[in-house]
Subunit: 264 residues, 2 copies
């Protein structure tokens, strides 16, 4: 039986999911959080679906041992391939970035023409396309495998990044697309470049914001919100490989200093 003071668990293939965690911190400042970065096997974006399902189950298993009350799948690739399996397997609620991002996208578009930017694996899964097309939207799926490595190199403002963004966004020029889902945890950091290329009329959707409100609502409905009597909350970080590197790489993704990362 879950307790209000039990932590929320999040996992991602690496540090990118910290952009999800930072939204959770903003919306739910009293919650204890446990984050797992599967750095031994990143990136997920170019792995096979069966491998991603297996990794996701193992990550969930590790977090369950930390007695979490709710699991957030902070990796879009893992969501695309494994969210239903996790929801059907785990005895606690499982939320991901897929559903809130899609909802926001549907709400944002006026033309009915939308784009989804994601890793190669997320795009190949067809998960977003199937869902959005069922809502009668015209969908432009675009795999952007270089965005995450560019962000991890700290080159999000480098002219090369703008050239590569222009290359990826070519299919959207002269289209009616007016809303774009940033369906990878790294992409919020590249949003200003995308906005500059496509102009201010295009809405960029970062799913983590809506997800954090969904988490708040779910915990409230199940009477599992942490009353926060032991404020400040505890944030714990685990990595499956090279915790020091996780610590260094986390800086651009998370606003608070991360001092300790343990090997999972």
């Amino acid at each position: 039986m879950s307790q209000q003071t039990d932590p929320i668990g999040l996992f991602d293939s690496g540090v990118g999911g910290l952009t999800v965690m930072r939204e959770i911190v903003k919306s739910l400042p009293h919650e204890n959080l446990v984050y797992l970065g599967d750095t031994a096997r990143l990136p997920y974006g170019d792995k096979s679906p069966s491998a991603i399902v297996q990794f996701s189950l193992e990550n969930a298993d590790f977090l369950m041992q930390q007695k979490i009350k709710l699991l957030i799948v902070a990796c879009h690739t893992a969501c695309a391939h494994a969210i239903e399996i996790l929801q059907n397997t785990l005895p606690i609620p499982v939320l991901g970035v897929k559903s809130p991002g899609s909802q926001d996208l549907i709400a944002a578009t006026k033309t009915g023409h939308v784009a989804v930017l994601a890793t190669a694996s997320t795009i190949s899964s067809g998960a977003f396309q199937t869902y959005l097309q069922a809502q009668h939207l015209q969908v432009y799926p675009i795999a952007c495998p270089l965005f995450a490595p560019l962000v991890e190199e700290g080159l999000q403002y480098h002219p090369a990044t703008k050239l590569i963004a222009e290359y990826y966004l070519t299919p959207l020029k002269d289209s009616k697309v007016d809303a774009i889902l940033l369906a990878c945890t790294h992409y919020p950091l590249i949003a200003p470049v995308i906005q500059e290329i496509l102009g201010p009329a295009v809405r960029l959707i970062e799913p983590a914001r809506s997800l954090s409100l969904e988490v708040l609502e779910l915990l409230r409905s199940q009477n599992l919100l942490n009353p926060g009597s032991s404020y400040p909350p505890e944030y714990r970080f685990f990595a499956t490989s090279d915790p020091e590197k996780f610590c260094r790489a986390s800086k651009i993704f998370f606003p608070l200093p991360i001092k300790k990362v343990l090997l999972a």
Copy 2:
């Protein structure tokens, strides 16, 4: 006991090692070859040393089951961390890209100032730096984590790649460096861009060429050269994940069509 007709085995984290295999094919056209791409766990460039040692031992084990007479470690990151362990463990000769590349670099420089371009993990290992500094060379180690993803996107001739190459090569401007080791299997495909930036006076070293001559010499000395009576030789390809993707991605790395890739 190895036979002359036994295959040579090669492994890499993915398709990049095919740039090594193509040099082996050129120098040793009668040899049967077995290639293993560890696509389930690529890239090695950002993994921990202990993980890379474990992956390397597992890859070697798989190739030993294919009854290889010689193992080539076609991945620089695996060489940097695991070549000695493999050489001390396996009952067959093990050659890697590290030693021939370094020898060529030493032979090529006149100023005694050299650079090594490689993945973050290879550079962090210090393997090349230690060896080259012991030869009284002034070494500029440069991690270039974006080069491999750019090549895999087929963007080696894109203007963004030139900008990123200029960014990485900044420390070499106004230096006395006259020879550069391309210590990653993907980098030969980016060599023209590097050459254009640094000018024709700088020698770019691709270790696979010397390695293939070293393999020829070693097999000849042990009377293990394939006499080639069953020409053409057999080339077999294995991938630890998504063989179809390996097949598609192989095109820019290998001059012959690869029709069949098996799951390892």
